[in-house]
């Protein structure tokens, strides 16, 4: 769409890390191939998902406009970017932020992208990512290049891959953590990005780090891989050693699972190889056909944790050595360092006289509330972290630029996103708090109540998600409005409750771990579909999301604010000896809670407002739901390898057209090797990139066994590879290059046929 799309590559040439630049070139070539009909939609869908380019609601080309189902006549017609996904339909771009860590230049870049490609808003997710909505697929390579120029990748932000590695945003400054997990999260993220052992999962895989067991910040219990920092004293040396409790198989979704302990103490040098071993076991044995049972939690459930553990440690024993295991940890430890910009106040406390800003601008109550809810002391005396509460996780482009200015002015650009869809600025000198507050207030970023009742978390829901059933953001906005002032005047116990909302049972809003959780469902009333939310009570946010809530009743969306009021009032009235909301729910019991809400499950007589959802006047319908892309299609490593070969051949053709015949010949030869390697990897995932080894293994496994043989042409196409390999050292003429391009195409076609005959779609 953007007129400048063709120019960004040249503009940023040499400014992007080579690996990221190459990766984006590949994606751009895949877009071109798809447009030429040379890449099938299923494969293109997974490849774009693995670059974080996701579908969005109505991308099947139709939308219920409240009166009728309207066909959306996009200029590209019915051309698709995935099964039933129109090319021109707006999509979502997810941007990975490992451990939530950002600098000012990155904030500024995200601001620019939000403005130029999206709708002016950047959205912070419950996994510390950013999401931009309403993005055209044609704009994504430019967008990705601009991110790469500030060292951000979108690679594997979606799809059946290792998603963003999250970590506690207070790591390194928390008062009671074991140690700073940040370098380890960064090392693991770097190691797993694009790792061959992570390319053949049946579903996504989400890792999370926490510096302690007692707080919520890491949410390790609900992750596929959870790592909690631990220390122990070595009995021989008497020295303190660092390590991790390693958990596997947690997850939310319709039925939440708690992660199980795999190893009680994993030393740093074992973190990467043991994770790699888990990935290999998951890739090998995890479900591929039925995506509803393809997360690692189901594999662990089926095998049992003991058997799974046994398999992982067996895998570890035979894992080929990789020097990066130690190197990445070492580098991350030495490179990651955070220091304050300003000196701490000598007495280590805030001078009460500093708290005068509110008197100056008439906002003293807000400032006091902000001091209470949005600040937290660091381990380092004299410093605090400041939380910026983002309404519904949203921030404008101008606010992002202001934030960049603020973190430069008060810190050494130490800022992180949080799983509560907020930002945390670290290393703020206490003496700077009044000035910082003033700067944030000027930017509209001084919302009070971070982490409190008013700080409602929500997934996108029906606003943009294809799976959304009810308007989670609409409800969140309404609850914010209704509880914002009330919550600060209510009982302290109520102020600290958490509300989390998901638009459907898939739990992206993490409703299971909230005190008051809601997830979208629909019910029929008087012959009409009516948006509802299932009320889930008493989940536990603390202790890394230690327990999940209890579903109580489905209530029409429009009655949910009354549910919140009624439950919080009852909690305040009945609370015994400072009991938590979780304990109150347990003590009260499901029957009584259900009775309490019984009348709210039915609409008031004559109330027709229930037939539409919050913020959307259209009559509610489920007709706009589409197929989710969370899981993506299951595409085997063989298919990916063959797609890569096609793309390399495409590059050969481009080079040939430009008259670069020698380069064209080299690309064509490489494409044959890539296709051959894809087949070999189906049997031996450790095959190297060495051409001799690839050809030798291909000959042994596919040629000598005649597995590769075409029913009519026999081994002819394999012969093309062998001949090309023999001549690979020689320069290519125009003629030889042209022949080789044709032969490479035939060889790749034969590899596809072979793969299809073997049924390599799922099993590797």
């Amino acid at each position: 769409m953007k007129s400048s799309n063709a120019l960004w590559k040249k503009q940023l040439d040499g400014k992007m890390p080579e690996e990221l630049a190459r990766e984006i070139d590949i994606f751009e070539a895949e877009i071109a191939l798809r447009k030429q009909g040379k890449l099938e939609e299923r494969l293109f869908a997974e490849t774009r998902l693995r670059r974080g380019a996701y579908g969005q609601r109505y991308d099947n080309g139709q939308r219920n406009d409240g009166q009728k189902v309207q066909k959306l006549n996009f200029p590209s017609g019915d051309f698709t970017k995935g099964p039933n996904t129109m090319w021109d339909a707006p999509g979502m771009q997810r941007i990975k932020v490992p451990a939530g860590g950002l600098n000012a230049a990155q904030l500024e870049t995200i601001a620019e992208l939000a403005e130029e490609y999206s709708d002016g808003i950047a959205h912070v997710t419950t996994r510390q990512d950013f999401q931009l909505h309403y993005i055209h697929i044609d704009d994504t390579p430019s967008l990705m290049r601009r991110l790469a120029a500030v060292n951000i990748t979108t690679r594997e932000a979606c799809g059946n891959s290792v998603r963003n590695v999250t970590a506690c945003p207070y790591a390194g400054v928390c008062t009671d953590e074991s140690f700073d997990v940040t370098p380890y999260a960064r090392a693991l993220s770097r190691f797993l990005l694009g790792h061959p052992d992570c390319q053949n999962f049946g579903r996504k895989f989400k890792p999370a780090f926490s510096g302690c067991a007692q707080h919520a910040c890491g949410l390790t219990s609900l992750h596929d891989l959870g790592l909690i920092a631990k220390t122990r004293v070595n009995e021989t040396t008497g020295r303190e050693e660092l390590g991790f409790e390693m958990y596997v198989g947690g997850g939310l979704g319709a039925v939440p699972y708690h992660a199980k302990l795999l190893d009680s103490f994993v030393p740093p040098e074992e973190l990467l190889p043991l994770t790699q071993s888990i990935a290999r076991v998951f890739a090998r044995l995890g479900e591929k056909k039925n995506r509803n049972r393809a997360r690692i939690k189901f594999l662990i459930q089926d095998l049992g944790i003991e058997k799974f553990r046994e398999l992982v440690f067996e895998e570890r024993k035979t894992l080929p050595f990789d020097s990066r295991w130690a190197e990445y940890i070492r580098q991350a430890r030495s490179e990651f360092q955070e220091l304050p910009l300003k000196e701490a106040p000598r007495n280590g406390t805030v001078d009460a006289s500093l708290v005068t800003i509110g008197d100056l601008n008439g906002a003293s109550e807000n400032f006091k509330r902000w001091m209470k809810f949005n600040n937290r002391p660091q381990r380092q005396p004299g410093y605090v972290t400041v939380t910026i509460a983002l309404p519904l996780g949203d921030i404008t482009a101008n606010q992002l630029r202001s934030l960049a200015d603020i973190v430069r002015r008060f810190t050494r650009e130490t800022i992180r996103t949080t799983v509560e869809q907020n930002f945390v600025i670290r290393w703020v000198s206490k003496t700077d708090l009044p000035e910082l507050y003033a700067a944030l207030a000027a930017a509209g970023l001084a919302e009070v109540g971070a982490g409190a009742l008013v700080d409602v978390t929500s997934c996108p829901g029906t606003d943009t998600c294809k799976l959304g059933i009810s308007s989670s953001r609409g409800l969140a906005a309404e609850l914010r409005r209704q509880v914002s002032e009330k919550s600060f005047q209510s009982d302290q116990a109520v102020q600290n409750l958490h509300i989390k909302i998901s638009g459907c049972f898939n739990s992206c809003g993490q409703h299971h771990v909230a005190d008051l959780g809601f997830y979208g469902v629909s019910r029929k009333i008087a012959g009409h579909a009516v948006p509802h939310f299932q009320v889930v009570l008493g989940g536990q946010w603390e202790h890394n999301a230690a327990s999940y809530g209890l579903p109580v009743a489905a209530v029409p969306s429009k009655n949910i604010p009354q549910v919140v009021t009624r439950l919080t009032n009852r909690y305040v009235a009945d609370r015994k000896n400072g009991e938590t909301f979780k304990d109150f729910v347990k003590r009260t019991g499901k029957t009584e809670l259900k009775n309490m809400l019984e009348d709210l499950t039915r609409p008031a007589a004559g109330d027709t407002s229930i037939f539409s959802d919050w913020g959307d006047p259209r009559e509610y319908t489920l007709g706009d739901m589409g197929e989710g892309e969370c899981a993506g299609e299951v595409v085997s490593a063989v298919d990916f390898g063959l797609a890569a070969a096609e793309r390399e051949l495409f590059e050969a053709q481009l080079a040939f057209e430009k008259g670069e015949v020698d380069q064209a010949g080299k690309f064509a030869y490489r494409s044959m090797l890539t296709a051959a390697r894809a087949l070999v990897r189906a049997e031996d995932q450790d095959v190297s990139n060495d051409p001799d080894q690839i050809v030798s293994e291909f000959r042994r496994r596919y040629y000598e066994t005649k597995v590769f043989f075409d029913p009519f042409a026999g081994g002819k196409f394999a012969g093309y590879l062998f001949a090309a390999h023999e001549k690979s050292g020689q320069p290519y003429s125009e003629e030889s290059s042209r022949y080789l391009i044709d032969e490479a195409q035939l060889f790749i076609d034969a590899a596809h046929s072979c793969s299809n005959r073997l049924g390599n779609l799922v099993a590797v």
Partner: protein, 200 residues
Amino acid sequence: MRSILEEETTVELQHINVKLILKGSENLNLDSVIPVFHSWIQDQIFDELLLDVADYRHVKHGPGLILIGHEADYSLDNTDGLLGVRYNRKAPLLGTNFDRLIQATRSALLACQRLEADKQLNRKLYFNGQDVQLIINDRLLAPNTEMTRQAAAPDFNRLAAKIFRQAELSYSTDPRRLLSAHIRSSQPFSTGELLSNLQA
């Protein structure tokens, strides 16, 4: 940012945004605009494909209420605390820079005129008659530099003269922000008058 086009003396104006600042906006309740935008989708009232409505009123000085389209978005935009009807052209346009400015301005005016006349809004939403912002939403084609501002100025001035006859232009000079000009007329005009002036 230094654009690869910067050495040239011309600038290509694409992805033009035109924002018409509203009168008495502090008293406007935008809830009633949501069904109006939905009705525009139902009737597909413009040549451009209209898709959905996004509500960002919860963020301060943000994009407000957006009617998302394929070729363009229409919004009640509150950026910088100035509420206005904004047209954001996303798909490239043919013609000269001036042709594109005319097209985007006409689209913004037509949308504003519709809102002004909509009975559901009780005739509470009006253009203030004097303030129009032009924003070029592409930093590579049009970085916010002195050179680009100079290159764009003749077309901006020509547009200002065409719609308002007499007006002053001022520019945002923050290099991080999009190239933008604020046109302020010395006397007020209605949207209908401005549309007539555009056609003249």
